[in-house]
């Protein structure tokens, strides 16, 4: 057991970043500029690839685009109300910078812990969440308000800057994971959480048992190099829990980066299937499995392995979503399409009638 000393339990890696395609690139500096760009594209049929930090560009069908629109100049914090635990931020703001800023007052937006150059808008559009969703829920649960520039260049807002709101249809949630299907996310209001107390990363023998036993752990992760529980709270209690888990522990949170390989996939299964999923992953593949959540990010070689993992996951009511694949990959990025595809097509068509924003990326090549 290690108390007090900081030892390296978890290896840190940096997330993969896509290379910008060799296309003309524009960086709108205001939402109005972005909206007129979209209106013009809709009128002329110019297809746009929206670019945040490039860390989630591997998701979905490849986009054939004429122009790259990057959000890097839309990166302001519009308002941060620490006493209200809300943050309004533009889409191009970097996750790492935003979280560093929030940490100065002991708060977090629970965005991915190892973000690389990811932007807030990219994380929301890709519908990805941090490991701490085990305790705080997925990113969509913190989406209080969204401002979108629709495919045809209108600025629309949904939700509001309060923590509880039932005023019409939940556009903020619909935008989460929409990958450009409704247009470009301009800004979002996120619900924040206070981070209070002492933090520990604890190595555990049996991660599934640790998750069942702990009350509201921040995360319980399993990797080929060990399994870890992430705790935070009153110091005595955290220390007592860490000791009771019998593992080695260290102060602070050490998060593993996403695994990398020829293929990187997100296996999504019911929480109780996480341990089984880990057994199905072949030797030689790397992974980070989130107990209590049901997401396993796995990386390795061979399209046949991806297909096999998908067949298994879908047979158990889950999904395998490809995060990165080689350019000539024969694997469908989404797998069996979800129900209600026609409805999805109608929704996308209403917001982006000329289908100019990331066209074809969504399931069903919408």
């Amino acid at each position: 057991m290690t108390t007090g000393d900081t030892v390296r339990l978890v290896e840190a890696t940096t997330p993969r970043t896509a290379e910008l395609p060799p296309l003309e690139r524009v960086s709108p500096g205001s939402r109005e500029e972005l909206a007129s760009l979209l209106a013009e594209a809709s009128a002329s049929g110019r297809r746009l690839l929206i670019w945040g930090g490039g860390t989630h560009q591997g998701i979905g069908y490849p986009v054939e685009a004429d122009l790259v629109v990057d959000t890097s100049r839309l990166d302001r914090i519009i308002s941060w109300e620490p006493d209200d635990l809300t943050l309004v931020v533009e889409a191009g703001a970097r996750v790492a910078e935003i979280e560093a800023e929030l940490a100065t007052k002991g708060q977090t937006a629970v965005l991915p812990e190892v973000p690389g150059g990811a932007t807030v808008g990219g994380v929301v559009a890709a519908g990805v969440s941090g490991y701490r969703r085990c305790r705080y829920g997925p990113t969509r649960d913190r989406m209080l308000e969204v401002t979108l520039a629709t495919g045809d260049g209108r600025i629309v807002r949904g939700g509001g800057r309060v923590v509880k709101n039932v005023s019409g249809y939940d556009l903020p949630r619909l935008a989460t994971g929409s990958l450009g299907g409704l247009g470009v996310i301009v800004s979002v209001c996120l619900k924040l959480w206070p981070t209070r107390g002492f933090r520990a990363t604890v190595e555990v023998e049996d991660p599934a048992a640790a998750w069942r036993r702990l009350y509201r752990p921040l995360a319980v992760l399993q990797t080929p190099r060990g399994s870890f529980a992430y705790l935070e709270g009153v110091p005595d209690e955290v220390v007592a829990k860490a000791d009771a888990l019998g593992g080695r522990w260290t102060e602070g949170h050490q998060w593993p980066g996403p695994p990398d390989g020829e293929y990187v996939v997100s296996i999504r299964v019911r929480p109780s299937d996480v341990a089984r999923a880990v057994e199905v992953i072949p030797a030689g593949w790397d992974y980070v499995a989130q107990h209590g959540v049901g997401e396993i990010t796995a990386a390795g070689a061979g399209s046949d392995t991806v297909e096999r993992l998908r067949t298994w996951a879908e047979s158990r009511g889950g999904w395998v979503v490809v995060l990165w694949a080689p350019p000539d990959s024969p694997v469908d990025p989404w797998g069996t399409p979800p129900q209600g595809l026609d409805l999805q097509r109608r929704l996308v068509g209403a917001f982006d009638p000329a289908r100019v924003v990331n066209p074809g990326r969504l399931p069903g090549r919408i």
Binding site: A39, R140, G160, Y169, D170, E237, R268, P271, E295, L343
Partner: protein, 484 residues
């Protein structure tokens, strides 16, 4: 477009006959009394049910939708009718689809912490069923002993404990829903983040206007290992509100933070004798949950903050019986109002928590200006206000004054950066106030969602969006100036 051919009187007979072929005679009612009863919810609006049907299976709901669409008659889904915004009240003669018989709890899965339930399951029954296993359904509206999970889903209902746990939408993992044409789809599931647009997220809170929910996969929440429930009495409502702001600012998100004002506490005490301190201008009920060391630490901090804001009395419930009594008092508040006046009108609005103190002060001013009484009991931790005006509806002038004052209060909250509704929904009640919170394009975007789901306007028409709101008009060319 509303269909021009909705002439019910002539078609009602064949409609009823068609429905009876599917449901049998006893589950299609055209009884005038029943139609009258099903024309109202717990709010102030009244409508008229053309027929009331009681399906028991998803297939039956799908058939009802298909038949109603054929007859061009709208359908209005209904749970327990405890909604306060007129959501379940038909705006035009409609088939009211009562879902209370679809009240089965299927597979409670303790490994995944989920359960598939029928929309007619009563909220509290679900928690009662799962509590022996150490779990509960977190959303706990004060009406939880009557309201249904389907109604909770449709209104994205909240409750005192949604401060920590979030509203219904955070606890719904999947839905089976009957859409236009009687199409049945299942969205979401126990596995996280299904590919494609989050239809589940937009169906929750859609107030029955997009489809009828026939099954719900809910997330079950582990019962907390320990709990502390505190009560603090203050000389002014502002001090109580400042304590709430102080607690959030101190980095504590309690399980619940509820304020009751003097008039409300007196009404509750007269009736229930729950042990609330009468005479205080405001009582704050705070609850923290978690492991023992955490709850003790947080309880200590909350007591300090209350004292720093001039609390006259701070008390921690000494046992489960005292705690249960305090909560019973809180959750019976609306019932207690009956002693004060025969009717009450209650609004549900939200302000940023930093604006609580100022907003509360101004809400009392508005009531006083109109010569109206005012009682408050609300989810202070979320900034979710429920200003309640007791009145006598037999006095027509009173009702006019009440509506005027209520509208001013909503406007005030929106101007403070707040929202029209935190948990009761828009329904019929706040439909025409939507332009206070949203611009024309924002509303058009919402109308696009409605149109994509329900092109024939079958599901609960004329709710949520003001009449005349429609999806973007594509015929209008993109303005010249917008081109680059």
């Amino acid at each position: 477009m509303a269909s021009p051919g909705r002439r019910l009187a002539l078609g009602a007979v064949t409609l009823a006959a068609d429905l009876r072929r599917v449901l049998g005679a006893d589950r299609v009612s055209d009884d005038p009394l029943e139609r009258h009863l099903y024309g109202k919810d717990a709010g102030v609006f009244r409508g008229r049910a053309a027929l009331v049907v009681f399906p028991e299976t998803t297939e039956e709901v799908a058939e009802v939708v298909r038949i109603a669409e054929e007859h061009r008659v709208p359908v209005v889904a209904r749970g327990a009718g405890t909604g306060l915004a007129g959501g379940a009240v038909p705006e035009e003669p409609a088939v009211v689809v009562a879902l209370t018989r679809m009240n089965r709890i299927w597979d409670v899965d303790l490994d995944d912490r989920t359960a598939w339930v029928g929309p007619g399951v009563i909220n509290l029954d679900l928690s009662r069923e799962t509590s022996p296993h150490g779990f509960h359904f977190a959303p706990d509206p004060s009406s939880q002993s009557a309201c249904t999970i389907g109604g909770n889903v449709a209104n994205n209902s909240g409750g005192p404990h949604c401060l920590l746990e979030g509203s219904t939408v955070n606890h719904v993992l999947g839905l089976e829903v009957v859409l236009t044409g009687g199409e049945v789809i299942t969205v979401g599931g126990a596995a996280p983040d299904p590919p494609g647009l989050d239809l589940r997220g937009v169906l929750v809170g859609s107030e029955g206007t997009l489809g009828i929910v026939t099954k719900v996969l809910v997330k079950l929440t582990p019962n907390p290992p320990d709990v502390r429930t505190m009560l603090a009495a203050f000389g002014t409502v502002e001090d109580a509100a400042a304590t709430v702001t102080g607690i959030i600012a101190a980095g504590i998100v309690p399980a619940a933070l509820e304020i009751m004002d003097r008039a409300m506490v007196e009404a509750i005490e007269n009736w229930l004798h729950a042990g609330l301190p009468v005479g205080a201008a405001a009582v704050l009920l705070a609850e923290v949950t978690g492991e023992t060391a955490t709850v003790e630490d947080e309880a200590r901090t909350i007591v300090e903050i209350a004292q720093a804001n001039s609390a006259r009395e701070v008390r921690i419930a000494s046992d489960e019986a005292e705690r249960a009594l305090l909560w019973k008092g809180r959750k019976s508040a609306f019932g207690a109002v009956a002693q004060t006046a025969p009717d009450y009108y209650l609004h549900d609005t939200v302000v940023p928590r930093t604006r609580l103190v100022e907003t509360m002060g101004r809400i009392y001013e508005i009531a006083a200006k109109h010569g109206l009484a005012m009682m408050n009991v609300f989810h202070a931790g979320d900034g979710n206000l429920h200003p309640l005006i007791p009145f006598d509806s037999s006095d027509p002038e009173a009702w006019e004054k009440v509506q005027k004052a209520a509208d001013e209060m909503v406007e005030l909250c929106v101007r403070q950066g707040g929202a029209l509704s935190g948990e009761h929904g828009i329904g019929r009640e706040k439909r025409d106030l939507m332009p206070l919170a949203f611009g024309e394009d924002d509303l058009a975007a919402q109308a696009c969602i409605k149109a994509a789901f329900d092109p024939s306007e079958t599901f609960n028409p004329h709710k949520v969006l003001p009449r005349g709101t429609s999806c973007f008009d594509r015929a209008v060319p993109i303005p010249e100036g917008a081109w680059i």
